[in-house]
Amino acid sequence: MALIDVIITLTEVLFLLALSPLLSGIIRKIKAWIQCRKGPGILQPYRDIWKLLHKGTVMSKEASWLFLLIPYICLGAMLCLAVMMPVFYTGSSNGIGDMVAAIYMLAIFRFMMVLGGLEGGSSFGGMGSSREMMISAIVEPTLLLSIFSVAAISGTTDLSDISRYFASSGASVLSPSLFLAAAAIFISLMAENSRVPFDNPATHLELTMVHEGMLLEYSGRELALMETASYMRLTIFMVILSNIFFPWGIAMDLEAGALVIAIVAIVLKLLLISVAVAVTESLMAKLRLFRLPNLLTISFTLSLLAVMSYYIL
């Protein structure tokens, strides 16, 4: 691996880290517009993180040292995941970005967050954790299957190689199986990132919380890290959707022109997905908790169909 690859990979990680709060701010802004509200500025997530970083930590008496360690592990897992992602350049993370590893980075994040919810010893954290595990039990196989389907098309499980394969083959690889898998990933994106209909990121009702319930006991710097990690997870899901499934515009050679096009392309794609997320969230009410498996099963079925249609068609 050449030095230039390392530099590009680090730039990609910083790019995702810096951009992810903005995307959350944009989603909130679009939702506010749809509701005919002005809403907070799109830079609000940065201000929130900055504010939280300067606050002290309050810890539950029940919590152990693990409680304080978890935010670092979570953010660390997301940074590792960012390293694996092809963001501008398909060659940068060659050989380290295996898709199964990527899915298990997400699993580490989720597992740690669930532990963090339990650590506080409060009933809301426990409820949030148990609900999160219920959701993830179906989301995880869906994720695996849908990425398997693209892996089957491209013949590799390396994320960068998949990306390069699709980018170089052009429109000829567009198949029903790709779209089915993309739809499944979009539903998983909503579920994993606790968006409406699965969870309500803006709720104050402690009894309905999933994601927020697990974060309820966190404060100060630890909360800032957890929030940042959550923003990053959303962004990384968007990157998977845009650069694994539809990687057009990504740079395949190290040229200044191609890189500029790649940056513009990824920003546009991320914005587009943000709009899609915000609109979807505004269109419906949150589902009843025990109806969630129905919707998740739909996404699982989609991903299953994606794999099957590849072999049949």
Binding site: Q35, S130, P197, T203, L205, L207, M284, L287
Partner: protein, 510 residues
């Protein structure tokens, strides 16, 4: 005596020692052990409802108010010999909270009451009773600790989840103790009293103007209903001018409109359906500004005064109000469409938090909660006050008793309220706004259909001084019914059920 009264007195299981009619109410004086059979008779045979139950220190008797649809208010005065009497709760579950309240506030012990725990006073010494005459109102009581024993549910996998009294959102304080098996709720116990301010004690000996202001503040968003009930109680049957009656209807219906708008938006908020929620919040705000334009107060406080109303609506403002309400109705249509055309929303509200008709009747639910369960009761129609006798409106009744039914009832009532305001504005003629009210004496009752249901104020004067003031907010009746409605639902649906009830904590705690 009315024919109904004579018939009733003949059919009673035993004759009362004394009876009389006062301001259209039938008063039956009985001994303490006769209260229970008499009440049972009125509730089970005559289709009556227990509307209030409290202790009156002067004369040492318990007062039970029963409203009977064809008759109106019947008051049972049960003379006590000491400080105990046979509990009513065993036969009449609707007396449950009243008796616990009486026990801690007045020190009257209902013998054999199944639940002797305090209701609203937390950590109070057992022998201090704030409403007994010997308790000076400025007395500071040293709090004693103590454990409040919640109902225990035992079994494998049963978890107890305490929620509140401090909540994540800016809402009133109340403690909810859930016993859950996974997500389904096996038992819920509501513990309130965190905003007990001693309203009834402060009213004792209070001059009328100050008392009027105080009643508006019992439960702020029902200020018109509370102050109107106060006015009715101290007017003691004095006839208020026609124009004032119309204006009273208008103000109380405007209060209902903004309350119900808030509830409808609240239900959408609680299922994270943000677009209609934001739209309903906008309409509510428009309504509050309209209130401000008309009366100078966003919550319409200061409109009621004994003998009439304090604020008039002139011709120009009347037009403004009519147009604004038509506009509001039109703006509300798309919200209703969005809600009822959204499968995801309907799925959340259907069959959620069902209160059956028999539960509603046993525990004596009131207002939209009772009507959503199929109980066709509305004080505006059944015991008309102000100008309601001349208004045409449909009482909104649904059958299912779930969140959706309560939503439909509230939407329907809001539309009826708009129509009532319009009828009032059309019928209203120039005239006096208020008359002098004679110095009150004896007992007065105010009975009003507030946005949350039937609201009762009872006042007793002696030598021109208010000696006892009893407030019974509709929330006091409806809180126990919520404990039943949530059973079998899952924990994340509780906030939605709670919002569909939208009960007042302050009105309940007093």
């Amino acid at each position: 005596m009315r024919p109904y009264d004579i018939e009733l007195l003949d059919s009673l299981p035993f004759p009362p020692s004394k009876y009389e009619e006062r301001q259209g109410r039938l008063h039956l004086m009985v001994q303490e052990d006769q209260v229970r059979p008499l009440l049972s008779f009125l509730i089970k045979k005559e289709d009556g409802e227990l509307s209030n139950l409290y202790h009156l220190p002067s004369g040492n008797c318990i007062m039970a108010l029963v409203v009977v649809p064809r008759r109106g208010v019947i008051v049972i005065e049960g003379a006590l010999e000491g400080t105990t009497y046979p509990s009513l709760t065993i036969e009449l579950p609707s007396a449950h909270w009243y008796e616990r309240e009486m026990m801690e506030m007045s020190g009257i012990v209902p013998l054999d009451h199944p639940n002797m725990r305090p209701l609203h006073l937390h950590d109070w010494p057992k022998n201090e009773h704030p409403l007994s005459p010997s308790f000076p109102s400025d007395r500071e009581v040293p709090l004693v600790g103590g454990t409040y024993h919640y109902r225990k549910v035992e079994g494998e996998g049963i978890m107890e989840v305490p929620v509140g009294p401090v909540h994540a959102g800016v809402i009133e304080p109340g403690h909810f103790r859930f016993s859950t098996a996974g997500e389904p709720i096996i038992n819920l116990e509501v513990r309130l009293g965190f905003v007990h301010r001693g309203v009834e004690k402060s009213m004792e000996g209070c001059p009328l103007p100050r008392a009027l202001r105080l009643t508006e503040r019992i439960s702020g968003d029902n200020g018109v209903a509370h102050s109107m009930a106060f006015c009715q109680a101290v007017e003691m049957g004095t006839d208020v001018p026609e124009r004032a009656k119309m204006l009273r209807c208008i103000y109380s219906e405007m209060e209902r409109i903004y309350n119900h708008l808030g509830d409808i938006g609240g239900m959408a908020t609680d299922v994270a359906f943000a677009v209609p929620a934001a739209a309903a919040a906008t309409l509510r705000e428009r309504m509050l500004r309209l209130n401000h334009d008309l009366t100078g107060h966003r919550l319409l406080w200061g409109t009621m005064v004994p003998g009439g109303v304090a604020k008039d609506i002139d011709a120009e403002r009347s037009d403004h109000l009519q147009n604004a309400l038509v506009d509001l109705g039109l703006s509300f249509d798309p919200i209703e469409d969005t809600l009822f055309n959204s499968p995801s929303f309907l799925d959340r509200v259907e069959t959620t938090g069902t209160l059956s008709l028999s539960q509603a009747k046993d525990l004596r639910a009131t207002g939209p909660v009772a009507r959503a369960s199929g109980w066709d009761r509305d004080a505006r129609r059944d015991f008309p006050y102000a100008a309601y006798a001349r208004m045409g409106f449909q009482v909104q009744v649904q059958r299912e008793g779930d969140v959706l039914s309560r939503l439909r009832v509230k939407i329907g009532e809001m539309r009826e309220s708009m129509s009532i305001v319009k009828q009032c504005l059309d019928l209203m003629q120039d005239g006096e706004l208020r008359v002098e009210v004679p110095v009150p004496d004896g007992m007065g009752v105010g009975l009003v259909e507030s946005p949350r249901g039937e609201l009762v104020h009872c006042v007793h004067f002696e030598n021109g001084k208010m000696i006892r003031y009893k407030v019974r907010d509709p929330s006091f009746c409806n809180w126990p019914t919520m404990e039943k409605a949530v059973l079998g639902n899952i924990v994340p649906d509780f906030p939605l059920i709670n919002k569909s009830y939208n009960l007042s904590y302050a009105g309940n705690d007093l």
